[in-house]
């Protein structure tokens, strides 16, 4: 049974999320992957404003395919998250609450999630066609020159996710495999 949650996430909802929960996420989220993260953190380092306020927001590590005519977006599954580990703590400390990706995170990111009361969701890698069905609208809001790596605002409806790392330190990437290791 999946919980329905809404982005931007509210504190009461966040507190109830635990590693291993299945959720259906609706609302507004933002794509961002390698190149966009590098630019965001460069702006932070220079003391410049970010293209949009990230406080309370959810970022989705994804670089979609171009949309076919009539579609909101092309295939749009998650990319591997560890490549954003170098940047994520900076963004979490600026108020980013949620991250969606796939794969294990570094201890520094897990600490940042705890410190800021955040959450890390796993989407199903390689299910890009299926996930595209949950994206109802998409528009580039920053770094258009980066092509697929531009930051896009997505309107999503019932995006299926699993809570992978919660603010209490629960981590499905540790607990799950440990249960089945022989």
């Amino acid at each position: 049974m999946s919980k329905r949650i809404h982005a931007p996430l509210v504190a009461q909802e966040l507190e109830t999320l635990r590693a291993g929960d299945s959720v259906l996420l609706s609302g507004t989220i933002y794509t961002g992957r390698d190149a966009a993260h590098k630019r965001l953190c460069a702006l932070v380092a220079e003391g410049k404003p970010l293209p949009s306020d990230i406080r309370g927001q959810v970022i989705y590590y994804a670089g979609p395919c171009p949309a076919k005519p009539g579609d909101a977006i092309g295939s749009c599954g998650p990319t591997t998250s560890y490549r954003m580990d170098a940047y994520a703590p900076t963004l979490c400390d600026l108020g980013l609450i949620g991250m969606i990706g796939k794969g294990q995170r570094s201890p520094a990111v897990i600490d940042a999630i705890r410190r800021n009361g955040g959450v890390y969701f796993a989407a199903t890698g390689g299910a890009g066609a299926l996930i595209a069905g949950s994206v109802k609208a998409a528009r580039v809001i920053a770094f258009e020159d980066l092509g697929t790596e531009a930051i896009r605002e997505l309107q999503v409806e019932d995006l299926p996710l699993i809570v992978a790392i919660d603010s209490e330190g629960g981590n499905l990437y540790e607990e799950g495999p440990a249960r089945y290791r022989r």
Binding site: T80, G103, T124, G126, L130, G147, T148, L172
Partner: protein
């Protein structure tokens, strides 16, 4: 001698990539369905169910299975009695790739490594050409995503480490990769040759029908044993825990130097895409 117009090569490359990025092979789909029956983990079953639904949806809507439509890897076996006419065959291949990625609404994922400037049309392709007897040309398109490519490893073992060392480094590669390469994976292995040759064998092994075994009985037995050991790691679909970490292990080998024992492991995500055509 047989003359083949390079336009035919272009059209073949074009068609193969349009198909490969959107239509998963029955080999992979069958293994996913079998694993859905046996997977014990509830998360694992849910992931496998989503992957099967995704793969069917992608084929029916002709949209990419995965947004990472990869680098355009091509294996090409050229009969030595073939003469290419009508232009540069290398350019024809690039045109085929460029058109397929544009017309298919596939992602432009290729860039210059240091400047990170995107080439915008997913070229250049990665072409491995080999001259063989005969007067036909066989092309295999194997678009390769980098979530799994990044988890690949080359191990230059010493002869003293022997077959046990080979087994251990293959399993260790999968263990270290965890959920990153989008398990359930196909593990491509090349043993022997030189460093670059080992990796090329590992990559080539991924073009084999998924789950079939090497014709070499010793390698076939290793594939079976390694698949069991890898699935005992517990990593499971997407790394969330389960019995299905790999769908198959494919091994190729060739002679190597007396001083060496190269082992290359090329990781392949569940979107193990490969389509072949002969001209």
């Amino acid at each position: 001698m047989r003359e083949i117009d390079v336009a035919r090569v272009e059209e073949t490359v074009y068609g193969l990539f349009l198909s490969a990025c959107c239509e998963i092979g029955d080999d992979v789909l069958t293994l996913l369905e079998q694993r859905l029956e046996t997977e014990e983990s509830p998360f694992g079953r849910e992931v496998l169910r989503q992957l099967i639904e995704n793969d069917r949806l992608a084929a029916s809507r002709h949209m990419p299975i995965c947004q990472d439509t990869g680098m355009a890897v091509i294996f090409m076996e050229v009969g030595q009695d073939v003469h290419f006419a009508g232009g540069d065959v290398n350019e024809a291949i690039e045109r085929g790739v460029r058109r397929a990625y544009h017309d298919g609404c596939f992602r432009a994922s290729v860039l210059t490594p240091l400047t990170r400037i995107n080439t915008k049309d997913n070229t250049p392709a990665i072409v491995h050409m080999r001259i063989v007897p005969g007067e036909t040309v066989t092309l295999t398109a194997a678009p390769k995503g980098f979530g799994s490519e990044n988890m690949s490893r080359l191990w230059m073992l010493t002869p003293s480490q022997g077959i046990e060392g080979v087994r251990d480094c293959i399993v260790e590669t999968v263990r270290l990769a965890g959920g990153n390469p989008c398990p359930p994976v196909v593990v491509g292995v090349g043993i022997g040759g030189t460093a670059e040759c080992a990796m090329l064998m590992a990559k080539h092994s991924l073009t084999r029908e998924c789950g079939t075994h090497s014709e070499d009985p010793m390698l076939a037995q290793m594939e079976t044993e390694l698949l069991a050991r890898i699935n005992d790691l517990g990593i499971g679909p997407q790394g969330l825990g389960g019995r299905t970490t790999a769908l198959a292990v494919h091994i190729e080998q060739m002679p190597t130097h007396i001083a060496g024992l190269p082992v290359a492991v090329n990781m392949q995500c569940h979107a193990a895409r490969h389509k072949t055509a002969t001209i």
